[in-house]
């Protein structure tokens, strides 16, 4: 029988997390229980309270994007429906907290997502506020459980643009990475 270490080294994995200052990472199905755990863990961190709440808010919006829109889904008995899977990691650099999410999306959706994020990223604080209010008043999109406010909220809460990277783009599915930096100083 092969030694499990031949396949996977927990130590190397931990070292990689440390090297990138990752304090929290979760991969899998983003159930409510997982979201609550992430919330507690962020709020117990020794940050300024308002920053902890903003980190939590951004992580929740990312997790719910994965839950609803990931192109990789698994069936959950508890929820009696299919739920998206993906990864969220929270780390830091000298000046920022960084939150990243990763999940597969339908390649045909890429253009719309990038167009939308580019538009939102160039708005100033007042324009963001007005756009958020206008979008919230607009009717709920058909067959989409989300509020269509996630990106706007992330930019407003972080004060920074949403950064999008697309990896291994294939005909049908592509890996979508979303990163938001939250300044450590308000």
């Amino acid at each position: 029988m092969a030694n499990p270490q031949d396949h996977f080294s927990v130590k190397a994995f931990k070292e990689e997390l440390n090297a990138n200052s990752i304090s929290l990472a979760f991969q899998g199905v983003f159930t409510h229980d997982i979201l609550s755990l992430i919330g507690h863990s962020l709020r117990d961190a020794p940050n300024n309270q308002i920053i902890s709440k903003r980190l939590f808010a951004i992580a929740i919006e990312m997790a719910q994007n994965i839950h609803h829109y990931s192109a990789e889904k698994v069936y959950s008995e508890k929820d009696s429906r299919k739920i998206g899977i993906g990864i969220i990691a929270i780390g830091e650099d000298y000046k920022h907290h960084l939150i990243s999410s990763g999940n597969y999306i339908e390649s045909k959706d890429i253009e719309n997502i990038i167009e939308r994020s580019d538009f939102i990223n160039q708005l100033d604080a007042d324009e963001l506020k007005e756009y958020y209010r206008a979008q919230r008043k607009a009717p709920q999109r058909k067959d989409k459980p989300g509020a269509n406010l996630g990106f706007i909220d992330m930019v407003r809460k972080s004060g920074n643009p949403v950064e999008i990277t697309i990896k291994d783009s294939k005909d049908e599915k592509s890996f979508f990475i979303l990163t938001v930096r939250v300044n450590k100083e308000i």
């Binding site: 409510h32 939590f56 609803h68 989300g146 509020a147």
Partner: protein, 125 residues
């Protein structure tokens, strides 16, 4: 008419609606992944409650966190109350409580108060 109650948990708010006094309380955190489904019974109760004209209604929001999806539902609730105020001679008042240091929750209250034409009190605690 019966009162309405939902016991809150980590991701759903405690909701207490008193039909007799017209005091409606929503308190806690709200980040259910399917807010349309979660709030459906809330809207049904409100619709019935607001079919009687000229009620005194006080809505107390005391939220510590809500996601963008809940934010939409809250606007829908406020809009129902605004319609009631003008179409059914309601006497509606909104109290928006926020933790004193929570500038984001304060701003959310300010934005809602701009979105609906109702007496709207922002109350730090």
């Amino acid at each position: 008419m019966d009162n309405f109650h939902i016991e809150g948990s980590t991701y759903i708010p405690t909701i207490d609606f008193d039909a007799e006094s017209g005091v409606l309380n929503i308190e806690g955190e709200s980040y259910h992944e399917y807010t349309i489904e979660f709030f459906q019974p809330v809207f049904e109760w409100l619709e019935k409650f607001l079919s009687t004209p000229e009620r005194d209604v006080t809505l107390n929001f005391k939220m510590t966190y809500f996601n963008t999806s809940s934010s939409r539902r809250f606007l829908e609730i406020l809009t129902m109350l605004e319609d009631y105020q003008f179409d059914n001679n309601g006497n509606v008042e909104i109290n928006w409580y926020y933790e004193e240091s929570d500038i984001d929750m304060e701003e959310s209250g300010e934005e809602y108060s701009d979105d609906v034409d109702l007496p709207f009190n922002l109350i730090p605690y």
